[in-house]
Amino acid sequence: MGPIDPSRLSRWFDAYGAALSLYARQWLEAGLADDIVQDVFIRLMSQRAEPRNVKAWLFRSVRNAAISGLRSGKRRQRHEEQAAARRPAWFEARAEDLIDAATAQDAMMSLPSDQREVLVLRIWATMTLRDIAELLDEPVSTVFSRYQAGLEGIRNRLVLSCRTKND
């Protein structure tokens, strides 16, 4: 396979840009997360040839760069900061949504990071559990357990949220 055609980049950006940004925000604040994603796309275009699985390559690269960035001391998006009205939104607020976007973000932020990561990869990056397992270098059963626990955690958080509003 030869050099990557630049016009393909737009398709990959369309397909994965938002999900990659959401993924990177698991570790970093929005601005830094976007920087990481941008760097990863640029690195992709610098490859001699197109990776066999571009999607997996992108998410793995973002993960590695984000964790690396986190370890090098960059600020992590803290849960307390999310309570501020000016936090960057993870999800678009739309009238037809079943869950309010801000509440969903709160609920996601309250999860342990390993559960949250699997939820993001499964739901918004639309990866199979097998692909997620390969990315995380974990058994499929472990990935599924985290997924199930994450969903349960969200559900509990939402129930709690409803009760709080109705009190």
Binding site: L22, D34, Q38
Partner: protein, 171 residues
């Protein structure tokens, strides 16, 4: 998949509800990204041995990525002669017009509307409803006029309106 079958109905509900949410767009400057990523691919030195070209490309891409980091609006960093970097929020070396920040033309943007009117004639113009025409007060002088003239009086004939505007008296 076998694993999905073991989700409880309640978990499936949450999964579906979360799945309906759309991830917000990222803040990446898409055009800058396309240009620099494309430049990174174009400027790969083709004649260098394959063993070293990947390293050089990576170095170039990283260098580009570092130097293309978006600057906050209005701030430019300049390297001074002694190598120190100063950052100023005051200096705007040049100004570009705030393209894209103007009010939209009623019904659309200029270029698009222009080409549609050329192709389709007046039917391409947005057809104002009574509300939409009143929503766009045209200019400061007219605004002042209408602040003086009560809405009800606008139904009057010419002389009633003239009298009201000139004397403040209703006819």
């Amino acid at each position: 998949m076998q694993n999905e079958e073991r989700l409880t109905p309640a978990e499936r509900e949450v999964e579906a509800a979360l799945g309906a949410l759309r991830a917000a767009g990222c803040g990446i400057d898409r055009d800058r990204l396309m240009f620099q990523a494309g430049r990174a691919s174009v400027r790969r030195p083709l004649h260098i041995w394959q063993g070293t070209s990947a390293v050089l490309c990576l170095a170039l891409a990283v260098s580009l990525a570092v130097h293309s980091r978006p600057q906050p609006a209005g701030r430019d960093e300049y390297a001074s002669a002694d190598g120190s970097r100063t950052s100023t929020a005051e200096v705007v070396p040049f100004e570009t017009p705030a393209v894209g920040s103007g009010l939209p033309i009623a019904g659309g943007q200029y270029l698009r509307l222009r080409d549609e009117v050329l192709a389709r004639g007046l039917d391409a113009l947005p057809r104002p409803t009574a509300a939409s025409v009143t929503a766009h007060e045209p200019g400061p002088q007219i605004e002042r006029l209408f602040q003086q003239v009560p809405r009800a009086s606008r139904r009057w004939g010419l002389f009633g309106l003239e009298r009201l505007v000139s004397t403040g008296e209703q006819s």
